[in-house]
């Protein structure tokens, strides 16, 4: 847990958050406690590393506050270029959320929309985004299945010259994913 009153040096990313991420990255894989602890420590070091580098870049830029651009440059100079595009995506979503929130607040002030309504709208937006992503994932899954099916059919066609009528070639959709 956070040691707000104690040393700041004891701060780490909460173990539960790391556990959740590990589980989502590698579902059904066991990870020893020692390994998890090490990942937590590595996170702390990573954050210090990027912050430090971003800080230096910020100092050179004569700006007083570390900006996301400084962070991106830090990632690049430290060899983490592959992270940059996803970081930029998150930043874009940040802006979108902030914008919607500002619009919603001004609407709230002008029209008196209750907070529950704002929450509802926000949940809708996220639900829509999740659905789109789920649909994308499912499409990819279907495509993979189709490719696998075709590969199978090609293999069995060469092995068995006899073709059955009304074979599964006509079916393109599986019921269960």
């Amino acid at each position: 847990m956070a040691s707000a009153s104690g040393n700041d040096d004891d701060l780490t990313i909460p173990r539960a958050a790391i556990n959740k991420m590990i589980k989502e990255t590698l579902p059904n894989v066991r990870v020893a406690n020692e390994a998890r602890e090490l990942v937590v420590s590595c996170c702390t070091e990573f954050i210090h590393l990027i912050s430090s580098e971003a800080n230096e870049i910020c100092n050179k830029s004569e700006k007083k506050t570390i900006s996301p651009e400084h962070v991106i440059q830090a990632l690049e100079s430290l060899g983490f270029c592959s992270y940059i595009s996803e970081v930029k995506e998150v930043l874009q979503e940040c802006k979108t959320v902030a914008l919607k929130r500002r619009k919603a607040s001004s609407r709230l002030e002008n029209l008196g929309i209750p907070e529950e309504e704002l929450l509802r709208q926000q949940q809708e937006l996220f639900a829509k985004a999740r659905q789109q992503q789920a649909e994308l994932a499912q499409q990819e899954w279907l495509q993979m299945q189709q490719a696998a099916q075709q590969a199978q059919l090609a293999a069995s066609a060469t092995a068995n010259p006899v073709n059955k009528a009304g074979s599964s070639q006509d079916e393109e959709e599986e019921d269960d994913v």
Binding site: T25, A32, L38, C42, P68, L78, Y83
Partner: protein, 114 residues
């Protein structure tokens, strides 16, 4: 998750284990965001622990948070590929060690391994 080959290169291991899109709850009173898994406040606290580090914008903290999540995904996938090479199904600490040793960008972690 695909495990076509018994010995996967690190790059393949990273590409084959697709993770779900992240949904993170940022600790905020009132409206909640779901953009990052790691708590922003903790990330900010870690940054501030370094007295030399100046103030960072909230977006900068987000950026670092997202980068850290990606880092976790990468190192965990790499560790997994080492566990597979060792014909184990449980990721051990030494797999994380190996993952650190195997990647140049992770050299900064050498001191953490003790």
């Amino acid at each position: 998750m695909e495990e076509r080959e018994s010995c996967v290169g690190l790059q393949q291991a990273r590409e084959s284990a697709q993770s779900l899109q992240p949904e993170v709850e940022v600790e905020r009173p009132g409206l909640q965001h779901k953009l990052l898994r790691l708590p922003l406040s903790r990330i900010k606290g870690l940054m501030k622990a370094d007295p030399d580090v100046s103030l960072a914008s909230q977006e900068a903290v987000f950026a670092i948070g997202k980068a850290t999540e990606l880092f976790v995904e990468v190192i965990v996938k790499d560790a997994y590929s080492f566990a597979l090479r060792g014909k184990r199904k449980t990721i051990q600490r030494k797999d994380v060690d190996n993952a650190v040793d195997a990647t140049d960008e992770f050299a900064f972690l050498e001191g953490t391994l003790d």
